[in-house]
Symmetry: D2
Subunit: 146 residues, 4 copies
């Protein structure tokens, strides 16, 4: 597997997150499970900006996480701030995929890379439905131009 080069310019939305002391585990580094809360914080903020959170809508629809993964590149200890870069990677009929790059604040040092897939759900029906056109357009604005 060729190691891809991760650059800040590949991401279209940014969220900076201050590491809390309690984010560390008994190994003295930020615990692996906490990276997923960093992804969640960035994703929720972007979805909020796109008007895509369930509680923002009156059509009973919203996103549901289907899968997520993270590659850990470098250990992080408190104190630190992580810049989480996000881009919309792909938009399907009823789901969309995001990619993430986590960097040490203000540097090009990659801490982790990650991805997530969200289905677009009709909550009452409990199943995935087509992503509305206006959301599809909003998501597309966060796809990288390159």
């Amino acid at each position: 597997m060729t190691e891809q080069i991760i650059r800040r310019t590949q991401f279209t939305f940014w969220k900076s997150i201050e590491v809390r002391w309690g984010d560390m585990d008994s190994m003295g580094h930020v615990n692996n499970t906490v990276y997923f809360t960093y992804l969640e914080s960035a994703r929720v903020e972007l979805l909020h900006k796109l008007g895509a959170r369930g509680k923002q809508r009156n059509d009973g629809q919203g996103p549901a996480l289907v899968s997520t993964s993270c590659d850990f590149k470098q250990q992080v200890a408190y104190p630190a701030t992580i810049d989480v870069g996000v881009r919309v990677e792909a938009i399907g009929q009823r789901s969309f995929r995001m990619s993430y790059g986590l960097f040490l604040r203000g540097t090009d040092e990659v801490v982790a890379t990650a991805s997530s897939v969200n289905a677009w759900i009709d909550y009452a029906a409990g199943r995935a439905v087509e992503i509305p056109d206006e959301l599809r357009a909003a998501l597309a604005e966060y796809q990288p131009s390159e």
Copy 2:
């Protein structure tokens, strides 16, 4: 302040909680904030048993935590199981107080003692209301007899 002797017989409800590896912080012990999740787990289970959780009721009422405190007596490391003892300490007009004793599983070694006050809330009105008689009676059964 005289140090009170804490005995298992002072508690009327029990919940055993297995310490998760991730409950430890970078000092290698269960983090102080996690003790409050142990209290919460025991309290929610007791409230559920009493029919006092908001989602169990159709009167729009339920408990809301007003205050809580914990005295840490002994550090705990994974692997361990904590027996959380609970008793109803006092029942007021619109609130009730619980006390907790946390022991190493099956021993008399006290890990922590704690207390909590819950108000009884009408969620729509957003204010404390009188504890219903049937709940008052149910709570009273978990007061120590001594």
Copy 3:
């Protein structure tokens, strides 16, 4: 008990903490246990500033949390930022007490008040020892002047 008025001017050290979406529980508010991580974040940062964290020292001494309590005044939901005010309340021979006021960012709205007691520990001996003079002086600078 007379309800004390809490003002920002009563605190001598500040730490702003951005609420994470995941800090909320299934009631849709910041979970009670998470307030204690906010206290911890502020306390660790102050202790670090005072040179009082164990890993900063070469005398094998450091702080250990003995007890903590929190009064919840107002529910908080994401998105929000909490300003945590801290003051050193009292300095004993082998322990010190801190008080906290949690405010909605930039407002006088009190979200919670809290307190903590830390013992000063010789880690190898596993017992409380006298607070060194230089730390005692540093702590005293965060006692309120009033």
Copy 4:
């Protein structure tokens, strides 16, 4: 992508985890990040059994998580218990891969599937080293026989 059928018989190590009320997020389901603590709890217990935790060893070696992923199949709400099945999927020169199946207690209902890669690290050198023979043999016992 053909959906693979997940059966309990595909896993060689089991860890049951009681869902804590606080594991739920504001959507009223176990939060996605908490599944990774369930994986961690099962993984740490298996590694402990194999004598592979850093603190069990005197060669300065131990595991470090390189990547992890999770597919969420079904939402879970408190109260529930999750049976986490684990198997060693592959053993490389300096890393090993595990697969996980999360089931509702005592049923064949799959809640999630997951995987992880751990490198085998010399902590002082800060780099991956060859997995010792005795650990390789121990890991192999948790590969599925089929």
